[in-house]
């Protein structure tokens, strides 16, 4: 297999050198530049170039400059991607963003804008991931390891590969428990541990372990992982104990059990909000009695409906699962997971719903509660 060439476009020379050193060490052939025009030209003319690492906002080098200065290049990250994909639809992009994440989850900050920004970047044609500079600074080995892994995976996969978002149920444990699990899984630096790895190690007792861990989890929440993304975005809109959470949690457990990933009416425990009593007009009767009343045998020996008897179509009660699935689909659609109608397939043969996105369970460490600030 030929080594793919990677264009690294970064206006800051320190970051440029950093990216180039890491990727060259990993065996990639890099073309590093600070100039958007040069990067576009290279990607358009060199067929060996398969990937572009591109900064979101591009100033004219040298960067960094003096305080208050800086002129934008003609093309910004978005424009570079547009220019290249217009001619080379096979080139894939990883956007490097300097956007800091203002609030951590437990601080109650609203991360919707951040998520929307990240999703806006991801929606561009050819973009396989967004990597944040702060993440690289916090964990350079992990972040570059991820980028290298992503580049290698994307290199192997055919371009027709269908990638779909993943919804992950997170089980939160204390830091000590999380560290112990991480050690057991040989993943000491990972913030989110895939439960599959732990279950695999436990072998036959996987189902029991799954139940035990679920009971012991101190908190639960839903995370969204977009295609190829390293970052998991917590979906604050889906609260534990909600119908949506129950459905996703059930399907995620099915995934981890490697069972049929399908939810049926009997798997969904619905508590009706209705306070009105429904009056039943149905007369209690034996089904054989009803058949005797309605049907008779004709002269030709065939079974026929008796004259004057009319069978009324039975009105189906609305399915609680169907309503919950509909609501969940709308919710996930708003979060950019996919078109609402395509998120769950109804399988009449199984009388259940199968998700079109991937699911899973991850384990994370609960951050210690921050001391409340005194109100002044």
């Amino acid at each position: 297999m030929t080594i793919p060439r990677i264009v690294i476009l970064e206006d800051d020379e320190l970051w440029l050198a950093r990216h180039e050193r890491r990727l060259t060490t990993a065996g990639f052939d890099c073309y590093a530049t600070q100039d958007a025009k040069e990067a576009i030209k290279a990607a358009k003319t060199d067929p060996a170039i398969k990937f572009v690492l591109v900064d979101e906002v591009l100033y004219i080098p040298p960067v960094p400059r003096k305080a208050g200065e800086g002129e934008l290049q003609r093309w910004q990250g978005h424009g570079v991607i547009r220019e290249i994909t217009a001619q080379r639809s096979d080139v894939q992009f990883i956007v490097i963003s300097a956007a800091p994440q203002w609030a951590s989850d437990e601080e109650g900050g609203d991360q919707q804008i951040f998520r929307r920004e990240t999703q806006r970047l991801r929606r561009q044609q050819g973009v396989i991931d967004i990597v944040h500079k702060l993440d690289i600074e916090d964990d350079p080995d992990g972040s570059y390891g991820w980028i290298i892994d992503l580049l290698k995976r994307s290199q192997v996969s055919t371009k027709a590969e269908v990638v779909s978002p993943r919804i992950l149920i997170g089980w939160g444990f204390s830091k000590e428990t999380h560290e112990a699990m991480a050690e057991q899984m040989d993943m000491p630096r990972r913030q989110f541990l895939p439960l599959a790895a732990l279950l695999k190690k436990s072998g036959a007792g996987a189902n029991k372990l799954l139940e035990q861990l679920e009971q012991r989890a101190e908190e639960q929440q839903v995370f969204l992982e977009m295609p190829g993304s390293k970052r998991l975005d917590p979906l604050k809109g889906i609260k534990p104990h909600s119908s949506a959470f129950q459905i996703l949690s059930f399907l995620a457990r099915q995934t981890e059990r490697q069972a049929n990933i399908l939810i049926q009416e009997q798997d969904y425990h619905h508590s009706s909000r209705s306070t009105k009593k429904a009056f039943s007009v149905e007369v209690e009767s034996d089904s054989l009695e009803r058949q005797d009343y309605a049907f008779g045998v004709g002269d030709d020996g065939r079974r026929r409906l008796k004259s004057g008897v009319q069978i009324e179509g039975k009105v189906e009660k609305s399915s609680p699962l169907k309503v919950a699935i509909h609501r969940l689909s709308q919710q996930l659609h708003k979060l950019n997971v996919g078109p609402a109608r395509q998120l769950f397939d109804y399988k009449p043969e199984d009388n259940g719903y199968r998700p079109s996105f991937e699911l899973g369970i991850v384990v994370y460490a609960i951050k210690p509660a921050k001391d409340k600030l005194p109100s002044s």
Binding site: A67, W75, H78, W102, E107, G108, D110, I113, L373, S376
Partner: protein, 515 residues
């Protein structure tokens, strides 16, 4: 702080809510006995030997001061404190306050380059202390060069026409005045002619009732517009070539020789230019003769199909010309934010005595897209005008969006969200208030990514604005013991963001009001 001189017995007040107040205070402190500053709702007095100042309540402010300097955007704060002053000075970002009765405008840029020197302050204080002294230079508009560069261009056309061009009717007075945008079909516009001669005197340094310093230029103008008893009339005879040559010599002497200009490579993907625009903005120091002449000559050169002049009262470009290049004088850059806000994406070529490096340092709005903004240094050759126009390309949509977002951010974010948020944080920095700040910072980053990426210095720490803001918020969240210092850090970071965005927008709101 200025020391070593005896402070004048004057009371001066500075009203400004952003970082510029420190610049004024550092120049004024020690030079007057009473110095006050009003920054938002905070009032401070700066005794000559106390650089930190003393916090005052609004009631403790004097009712009368000798001199008052206020930023155009802070007029409402002045109204709130009702302080009267013997002399009032108004300043703004680019140095273009509108003249108002009883207010002296400061015709100097104050951000990003604070172009006030200690000498200027001495002049200003001398004027306040001794009213018979001459008006401080900062209150006098800098002389512009507009008519002479325009005449220089027209002389070039007549004497050294670009290849493939003939002089056409270059010698007819109608042609000259037409290219200056001054010809009206009915009759000669008398006030315009008077302005033209006044402009000649100002630009050529020509004293009234004296022998002409530049007889060639004077002769050319009197040939174009001879004066009769009832006013100026349009010259009947063609302008002789020797008159044009004499004027050209004088113009070269006054303006200097044309220097070779830096040229970029022509853009590969440049489309045909449909039209070139110029703006006839009547700002106090506005000038449009050179840009009009250059636009009309570019049309005659065949670089474009049309040359259009935008009226000063409608800075909205029709959708057909949203990507046309625009010629501006350096004094007209203040109208660019308004044009950009209304979706104008065309390239901008500034005709200016200053280089583009200096212009973009002073005008942040010119830094949103390399290849879409440039300058031609006056005087320039017609060939250079063609070459520059061939290198320029319209702004990329992303850059235009970045700029437009910044232009609306002051009103949308600063006034409506940041100020109330800071106020509520000052009253109670509980988790809810901090979460509000956190959300606001995300909005800032999303709405103004360029300002958030710009390096700024707070104290001795230079980093991107967004990282200052983040650091300030983290300190507020993590160190409850030093809330006052952390709050001031956050406020300083917001002020830096505000200054950046304000400098991009310039004083466009004032311009809108004027137009």
């Amino acid at each position: 702080m200025n020391t070593g001189t005896i402070p004048l017995n004057l009371a001066i007040m500075v009203i400004c809510s952003d970082g510029r107040n420190d610049a004024w205070i550092s120049l004024l402190q020690g030079k007057v006995t009473h110095l006050y500053m009003l920054k938002g709702n905070n009032c401070l007095e700066f005794p000559p030997d106390d650089p930190d100042g003393v916090l005052l309540s609004v009631d403790e402010l004097p009712k009368d001061v000798d001199g008052l300097l206020f930023h155009s955007s802070d007029g409402k704060h002045w109204e709130n404190v009702s302080v009267s002053a013997r002399y009032t000075f108004e300043f703004n970002t680019p140095g273009t306050p509108q003249p108002k009765p009883g207010v002296l405008p400061v015709y100097r840029q104050t951000f990003p380059h604070f172009a006030i020197t200690p000498g200027d302050i001495d002049e200003l204080l001398a004027y306040i202390a001794h009213p018979q002294a001459t008006l401080p230079r900062i209150c006098q508009p800098l002389p512009t060069l507009d008519l002479l560069p325009a005449l220089h261009l027209l002389c070039q056309w007549v004497l050294r026409p670009p290849s493939g061009q003939t002089e056409d009717n270059g010698c007819a007075p109608q042609w000259w005045l037409g290219k200056l945008g001054l010809l009206t079909p009915a009759e000669v516009d008398q006030p315009a002619c008077q302005r033209l001669f006044a402009q000649y005197q100002e630009e050529g340094g020509q004293p009234e009732q004296a022998e002409p310093i530049y007889p060639g230029i004077h002769q050319l103008l009197t040939h174009l517009l001879p004066r009769r008893d009832d006013g100026y009339v349009l010259g009947a005879a063609p302008v002789p070539l020797d008159v044009v040559q004499a004027a050209d010599r004088d113009l070269q002497q006054r303006l200097g020789d044309t220097k070779p200009q830096e040229m970029d490579e022509p853009a590969d993907d440049r489309e045909d230019i449909h039209a070139i625009l110029s703006v006839q903005v009547s700002t106090p120091q506005g000038s449009f003769l050179t840009t009009t002449a250059a636009a009309l000559l570019a049309e005659q050169l065949g670089i474009v199909h049309h040359a259009l002049a935008l009226a000063s009262d409608a800075l909205i470009v029709s959708p057909d010309y949203q990507k046309s290049p625009l010629l501006l004088s350096d004094r007209q850059i203040t109208c660019l934010p308004t044009l950009r806000k209304h979706g104008f994406a065309g390239a901008v070529l500034v005709l200016s005595p200053s280089s583009f490096a200096i212009l973009k340092q002073n005008h942040r709005v010119l830094r949103f897209g390399q290849g879409s903004h440039d300058a031609l240094i006056i005087p320039f050759r017609l060939e250079d005008l063609r070459a520059k126009l061939e290198t320029l390309v319209p702004m990329e949509p992303q850059n235009l969006r970045f700029l437009q977002d910044e232009l609306t951010a002051i009103k949308e974010l600063y006034d409506r969200e940041i100020l109330p948020c800071l106020e509520s944080l000052e009253q109670s920095n509980d988790d809810r208030a901090l979460a509000e700040v956190s959300t606001l910072l995300e909005k800032l980053r999303s709405k103004t990514p360029v300002a958030c990426h710009t390096l700024v210095t707070i104290g001795e720490d230079t980093q991107q604005t967004q990282h200052h803001l983040r650091q300030a918020l983290q300190q507020l969240q993590q160190s409850p013991d030093d809330q006052s210092r952390n709050y001031n850090y956050l406020k300083a970071a917001f002020a830096q963001w505000h200054d950046l965005v304000q400098s991009t927008a310039g004083e466009q709101l004032n311009l809108n009001r004027a137009s």
